[in-house]
Amino acid sequence: MLHFVLFLGIPVLIKERLLRNRYRTAADLESDNNGALLKFLTLPETHCIYIAVIAAATVSVVCSSAWSRLGNIAEFIGDPRSGQTQLCLRLCIAAQLPAELGGIEMRAVYVDCIGSFSSSDASRAAQSISCCCQQSSHEQLLNGVGVFRVYSAHELMALLVSFENIRSQLNNVGLLVINTISWPFLASFPDNVFRRQAMQAEAASLLTRIASKNSDNSAGTTASISLIKTRYAARALVDGRLPWTVMCGAAFLLIALHSAAKMLVPIN
C-alpha cells in the first residue's frame, strides 16, 4: 500500500523539502539511505520521518481491505475527538490534487449534518496541502469543495435523491462526504428504532446507487464516503489515499483503527 508523503504526520516544511527532492511516497524513503536525506534534512528531521512512516504502516496493516477504485463507499467511525471531521475536511481538499499526489483531480461535496464544517478549519487544511502542491492555491482548493447543510433526515434524503441532478450541474464531482449519516435519522426518529433503521437502509441503498451508477462513467466518477458517529464504536476506517473500498448497508464492517485515526490527524 502506498503511503504518500503528503499524508504522513510530519511538519509541512519537511514535506515540502521531500517533495522538492522527488520523495513522493514512503517507499521512496525506504529505498534511499539516510545519507541522501541528510543532504537537505537534519538528523532529527529524518527520525521524525521514520516515526511517521512506521505509523502509516501500522494503519495499512490494520486496514484489511484493498483501496482500488472509484465508485466505492467507506465509513469512518470513532469516538469524539478522534478526528473524523478533520480527516473528512482534508480528504475534500486532497481529492482535488493530481493523481501523483494521491488525489483524483475532482471536486468534493461535503454534506454537513451536525454543523461540523468550519471555514477556518478547511482553510487551514487547504493551506497545509497547497504549500506542497505547486498547481493549486489554497483558494482554488477551497472553491473545489461544495457544502450543503442539512438538519433532518428528510432533508438528507431529499439531497441524496437529487444528487444525480447536483452532480450533473456542478461538474466533475468525485467525492461525497456525509458528516454524519447517523445523526439526522437519530434526530428525526429518536423513539422509533425500526423506522430509523429502515430509513438508514434506504439511505445506504441510495448511496450504493450513486456510487455504482457513476463507477463506470469515466467522464465523471464519484467516490462516496459516509461518516457515521456512533456511541458503540471506537473504531475508524481510514487510509491515506483516495479512493476507498466498498462497505454499505445497515450492517457495517468495522475495523479497529481508533488510535490510527489519531495518528493521521496531525497532518500539519
Binding site: P80, S119, Y151, L159, V161
Partner: protein
C-alpha cells in the same frame, strides 16, 4: 412546461392525500417503495413525483455554497482573559454547542455568568454585543453574584473609562432568565418561548445550567418506579436527541453559542470499589511521601511539579454525565477542576526532635519544613477536553471579583 408542472402539482396533492401526509417533506421520511405502494403510482409517475418532492423539501440550489462562501461568522465570545481564551482555542465560538462539565463547586456557573457578561460587550472589546438567554434548572440563579461581577469584569476588560459609563441595570436587562423546576416546563419553554426570543436575532448566547439536572433527578424520582429501567434510558435518549437537534439548528440559524452545563458521575470499578474524590487527596500523599531531597533522603513532603498535579487530576474517578450520546451531540467540552487546599495535618511532617531511622540504621533528627503554599490553597483549572478548533490544553485559574483569571497555561495535546 407550465401544463406539466400544473399536472404534477395536482398529482402531488392527490398523492399526499393518499399517503396520509400533510406536507411533501413527510413523504421523504418513508422508503420510496412504501411511497409507491401507498400512492398507487406507476414507476414513471412515482419517479417524477418523488423528484418533485425532493426538490420542494430541499431546494439544493439555494442551499449550495462553496467552502469560501460558507457563512461562518467565526465570531467568538471571549472570556476576558487571553490565556483562558487561548486554552479554549479562541473562546466560545458562535454557532457551536459547548459543554462545561465539572464536579460541584468547581465554578461552572461562575464561568457561565462571566461569559454572559462578556457576550454583551461591544465587538471592539471582544464581545459580540448580543443578548443572553439563561436557563437555570438547579435552584435559584445567583443574581447577586452577577451584579457584583459586572463592573469589576468590565473594568478589567474594557478599562476604567468605559466602566464608568456602564450601567449594571443595562447588563442585567439583556439577560433573559428562566428558572425551571421540572422537565415538562422546560420543554414547553424550549418549544415556544425560546424560539420566539431567538427569532429576534439579538441573542448570541444561550446558557443551560444545567442540562443534566432534570434528565437525571427528575426522571429518577418518578412515581411509577421506572427509573433505571430500559424505558427510562429510552425516554432520556429521546429528550437528549430532541434538545440536541433543536440546539444545533438554532445555533446555526441564529448564529448563537449554546453553553450546556453538565454534571459528573462516579465511575465504579467493580474490582477496586468507588474511590470517589478521596483518590485525589491520597494520590497527593503518595506523591509527597515518595519524594526525596537532593541527598536521596526521604523528606515526607515535597514540591509537586506541574506534571504531577495534572496527572493526579486525570486519575479522578469521575466522568461527564449523560453518556456518549450527549458527547457526540456537543461540539466542544470544557472541563473544570478544583482541588481544595490541604490541611497541615495532611502532611507526614515529623515533629521536632522526633527520631527517624536512616538507611544505614543510624537515627537522625528530621527538621520540620513548611509545606509548599500551592498545596495549602484551593486551586482551579479549566481544561479544553476536546474541540474541533483547538488542541487539548489546560489553564490554571483563580476566581476573583471579576471572574476567572489565568495563572498558568500549559498545552497537553498528544
Amino acid at each position: 412546461m407550465a401544463n406539466s408542472n400544473d399536472s404534477d402539482s395536482a398529482l402531488l396533492s392527490k398523492c399526499l392525500t393518499k399517503v396520509g401526509c400533510e406536507e411533501p417533506y413527510q413523504c421523504m421520511l418513508m422508503p420510496y417503495s412504501e411511497f409507491l405502494r401507498l400512492s398507487g403510482l406507476d414507476e414513471e409517475q412515482g419517479q417524477r413525483i418523488w423528484t418533485l418532492i425532493s426538490s420542494l423539501t430541499y431546494p439544493w440550489k439555494e442551499k449550495y455554497k462553496v467552502a469560501t462562501e460558507v457563512q461562518n461568522t467565526e465570531k467568538w465570545i471571549y472570556t476576558g482573559d487571553q490565556q483562558i481564551d487561548k486554552c479554549l482555542g479562541g473562546g466560545i465560538r458562535l454557532g457551536s454547542i459547548v459543554e462545561v462539565v465539572g464536579e460541584g463547586a468547581t465554578g461552572k456557573t461562575q464561568l457561565c455568568i462571566q461569559l454572559a457578561i462578556a457576550a454583551q460587550l461591544p465587538e471592539s472589546f471582544g464581545g459580540v454585543d448580543g443578548d443572553v438567554v439563561y436557563i437555570s434548572t438547579e435552584g435559584a440563579f445567583p443574581v447577586h453574584r452577577l451584579e457584583s461581577m459586572i463592573l469589576p469584569f468590565v473594568r478589567r476588560v474594557c478599562g476604567e473609562q468605559y466602566a464608568q459609563a456602564v450601567s449594571i441595570d443595562g447588563f442585567m436587562r439583556r439577560i433573559q432568565l428562566a428558572e425551571f423546576e421540572d422537565m415538562e416546563t422546560m420543554f414547553h419553554a424550549l418549544d415556544y418561548k425560546v424560539p420566539a426570543i431567538l427569532s429576534t436575532g439579538r441573542v448570541r448566547l444561550v446558557v443551560v445550567d444545567s442540562i443534566a439536572a432534570h434528565l437525571r433527578y427528575d426522571m429518577d424520582s418518578r412515581e411509577d418506579g421506572r427509573s433505571g429501567s430500559s424505558s427510562f434510558y429510552k425516554e432520556r435518549t429521546s429528550h437528549l436527541v430532541s434538545m440536541g437537534a433543536r440546539f444545533k439548528r438554532w445555533a446555526d440559524e441564529y448564529q448563537c453559542a449554546f453553553i450546556c452545563v453538565n454534571q459528573v458521575k462516579d465511575i465504579i470499578d467493580p474490582n477496586k470499589g468507588n474511590h470517589g474524590p478521596a483518590t485525589l487527596t491520597r494520590s497527593h500523599r503518595q506523591l509527597s511521601s515518595h519524594a526525596t531531597d537532593d541527598s536521596g533522603q526521604g523528606t515526607g513532603m515535597s514540591l509537586l511539579d506541574m506534571d504531577g498535579e495534572f496527572a493526579v487530576l486525570t486519575r479522578s474517578k469521575k466522568a461527564p454525565a449523560l453518556g456518549s450520546l450527549w458527547a457526540n451531540i456537543i461540539d466542544a467540552r470544557v472541563m473544570m477542576y478544583q482541588r481544595r487546599g490541604l490541611a497541615l495535618s495532611d502532611f507526614r511532617c515529623p515533629a521536632v526532635g522526633e527520631q527517624q531511622q536512616s538507611e544505614d540504621g543510624h537515627s537522625s533528627f528530621a527538621s520540620q519544613q513548611q509545606p509548599p503554599s500551592h498545596l495549602l490553597r484551593t486551586r482551579r483549572w479549566i481544561e479544553n477536553d476536546f474541540s474541533p478548533w483547538a488542541p487539548r490544553a489546560q489553564c490554571e485559574v483563580v476566581l476573583g471579583d471579576s471572574g476567572f483569571q489565568s495563572i498558568h497555561l500549559f498545552n497537553t495535546s498528544t
